[in-house]
Symmetry: C3
């Protein structure tokens, strides 16, 4: 499908918006963008790298695509292009320009429940059947969508988007310019029990969660409240879906957590940590700034900054690769050892 909203723009203007430069006719105007394989005549499209370049280049012309956003260093193309060192910034500008903006005509939807002790900024939006409990605060420009829940004395900063079904539980704090996707839970109890005479006695979880500014959390993420202090997700961190973040965890700034990650209680991630899909770490472990945990890796010991690890237990990726490679030779190795044993026995 094409992304369009009725507006049109010249390549010159779009290049100015995204800091790119035009090669070819800068007066060409476009009014929609679509992926390379579905873009139609007169549309704008996007080409990242030079994989299959010749084929793509021919297609651009054949399909009569109007223009393409692409990388500064790609060869000449048969149609006008907007060039950027990082072409994704051009794509972002175009998508933001052509995307449909939904206009919400209400402030607080009549079916929403907002406690009269809650404080909702005059230009915030509270959607249908949403709930904002006693003492909660919603900042300017924020949008609490339908069926979302903001707990007692919880607060949401400015220009934050809370999708349908999100639960921000009592006393939790979400910063400004955040995006929290549907059915994510912020502030469920940490998993803490004391053992006493065969019983699991609940340790009350009376801390909270603090989500700093510019954080995005995917759908069906769970972030547990701390026992006494705050579970913290640092500024600019972005998570994918279905991530579990346990109590007392401290996540640094601008981390990236991919789907199905699990972070155990009290773990501490530095800044710019990347945890790929299905990774995890045990409790109270420290992962240094700028480290990457590759897919399915499980961190069981502290990891120094700028580490690049994989496997279970997580170890330097080169070592893990050597082990994985060697494992495929293992059945053969067993035969070779048997042969050696036979030869040595024959010698006797």
């Amino acid at each position: 499908m094409s992304i369009s909203n009725g507006k049109k723009i010249s390549l010159k203007e779009l290049a100015a918006l995204c800091g790119g430069r035009v090669i070819g006719d800068e007066n060409v105007t476009v009014s929609s963008i679509a992926s390379l394989d579905v873009a139609k005549e007169g549309e704008l499209t996007f080409l990242t790298g030079n994989k299959n370049f010749a084929e793509h280049s021919a297609h651009l012309k054949e399909a009569k695509i109007a223009a393409v956003i692409t990388a500064e260093n790609l060869p000449e193309l048969p149609i006008p292009s907007i060039r950027l060192k990082n072409p994704h910034l051009g794509l972002i500008a175009a998508l933001n320009y052509f995307r449909k903006e939904l206009k919400i005509s209400y402030h607080i939807h009549p079916t929403a429940f907002v406690s009269n002790t809650a404080s909702v900024a005059p230009d915030a939006i509270i959607g249908p059947n949403a709930v904002v409990e006693d003492g909660a605060t919603i900042g300017a420009g924020s949008h609490i969508e339908g069926l979302a829940y903001i707990g007692r004395y919880a607060s949401v900063g400015k220009n934050t988007h809370i999708y349908p079904g999100v639960r921000i539980l009592d006393y939790c704090v979400v910063g400004s310019n955040c995006i929290i996707h549907s059915n994510t839970v912020i502030g469920s109890d940490g998993y803490g029990f004391a053992q006493d005479q065969g019983q699991h006695i609940k340790v009350p979880q009376v801390g909270n969660v603090v989500i700093e500014d510019n954080v995005e959390l995917g759908a069906c993420v769970t972030v547990d409240r701390s026992t006494m202090e705050s579970t913290v997700i640092g500024e600019g961190t972005k998570t994918d879906n279905q991530i579990h973040i346990a109590h007392n965890v401290q996540i640094g700034k601008k981390c990236l957590l991919v789907a199905q990650v699990g972070i155990s209680g009290g773990a501490k991630l530095g800044d710019y940590v990347i945890m790929a899909g299905k990774t995890g770490c045990i409790g109270h472990v420290k992962i240094g700034d700028g480290s990457t945990i590759l897919a399915c890796g499980i961190v069981t010991n502290n990891v120094p900054e700028k580490s690049y690890v994989s496997g279970y237990p997580a170890k330097p990726h080169q070592e893990e690769l050597r082990i994985k490679g060697a494992m495929r030779k293992l059945p053969d190795l067993i035969k070779r050892v048997r042969d050696l044993e036979n030869k040595l026995n024959e010698q006797k």
Copy 2:
């Protein structure tokens, strides 16, 4: 517990319903069904295979069970039986016959919010405190349960059942005869960021999700919307719970995805692909028609059709089994190599 709803049926009639044949008295009537180990006198039960056949056969008589649905090829039984090549089809017919049907007496529940620009078929049902936003469409016979959310310009086909807490976000499309279980999210943003000067800049996710007909999605599943096009789940595909499907993924027809599967962005599954529990694949990988990924397998390269793979990286299952078997011999192998080294050193 027994499944019953007050109706009774003769074996003859039930056999006609499911395409089976009766061995024994076809005029026996039954009014409830229960599992073999809990069925009581006069009830119908179900027996799949011939494991512990003698014991089960004796129990059927002892417990005075009235009749049993079972496989065509099982030996003679001491009570009347309905026989089918695939006895599960008999079980399905019986369960459908004896299950309680809940009658919903309202069309749109008075506590639901339905936008006056939404279109709801006259015989569709919208449950308590559900939300149907502007421009949404709900087809004939569909049931949107309480506290479910249907976003702006989203559409739901005919005879589709949307359970409580499901989120079908703006512009997403769900087909006919689908079942979407509780708290599943369709149309959360794909996880896409461009890196620019140490910032993670969000790539707007302005595509949608298309769920074709006859699809069933489990509970707490997340399906991300595509960046520009559609994330697609093909006709007849069935998923278990807590599955993550990333943006731009294309899933073919009649696939089976078991619990906790994670499918990365842009991956493409053919038709009749089976992904067992806790499996995953990396981005942009292709999995051929009819392939099976066994439990916990992680697909890192394209997989040809009818593959049967396991492990991480996923490889032919026989190879993985050989490696796993060899690993258990590895500690011993290290000793054997040390012995060989010692012997050779002694020879010198």
Copy 3:
């Protein structure tokens, strides 16, 4: 942050509450508790073990902390202490004493929908925009929070806390003194299909889920209903977040299931089973009483009681450790075998 609610207590009184004894001035009073590293002058804190004891001991005095809850067997401290064999029981008592209690002033919130065929105990609380369907039962002292859903003929016992967004679907049963965290789904359909001529035919899932007393389920947990009987979670079992429990599963009493566990259909766990994070088991497997499955372990065969297993397939942990240790030597082992082969060839 400090945990306080305006109440104060002497060490003598607090020791009596938790069964501890005071060393030092028992008349010292405290009005808040905080973690060791953030506690301020005059506050109560908590110290578990003797790791870094000298440092912690000096800090307690320097920070002018008023008193500390700690273990009976720790050495003398420079400030008054409450000593217990299990100091967590002291922490629990203090947290319960100092936590803020929210007072809810309504019985059934005016925005909630409660069917007039439902039965809600007079002192139960139903939160804003919650839904209690036909025939449902809510016991004395239970709290159904905002936007939670209680299905038709479902029942919730006494003094149970149902957090926002929980779905307890038709006919399911939750016991007394349970805590169910946000967005958890109880009673979604089991994943069962019969194959017939290339179609996946749904096996109706018409059983239910029974959650016994004193159970706590984390956030975004899914528990599927049984095909004909009940999926059961036994008394006193506690689960973390994002756990999948399939249909017909039987979980014993006082089990602990850590985050992201997946339990396949028909599996049976005994009492006091511990499944660590990201573990799983295949269908119909039995895990004996008191067994522990260590992180990421996948159980593929029955496990006798008091087993302590890890790996995939799960095996005795000592064996898994030996294999994992040997794997790190494997690349080197391959070289050593090559050397041996070369030496033997040279001998010829």
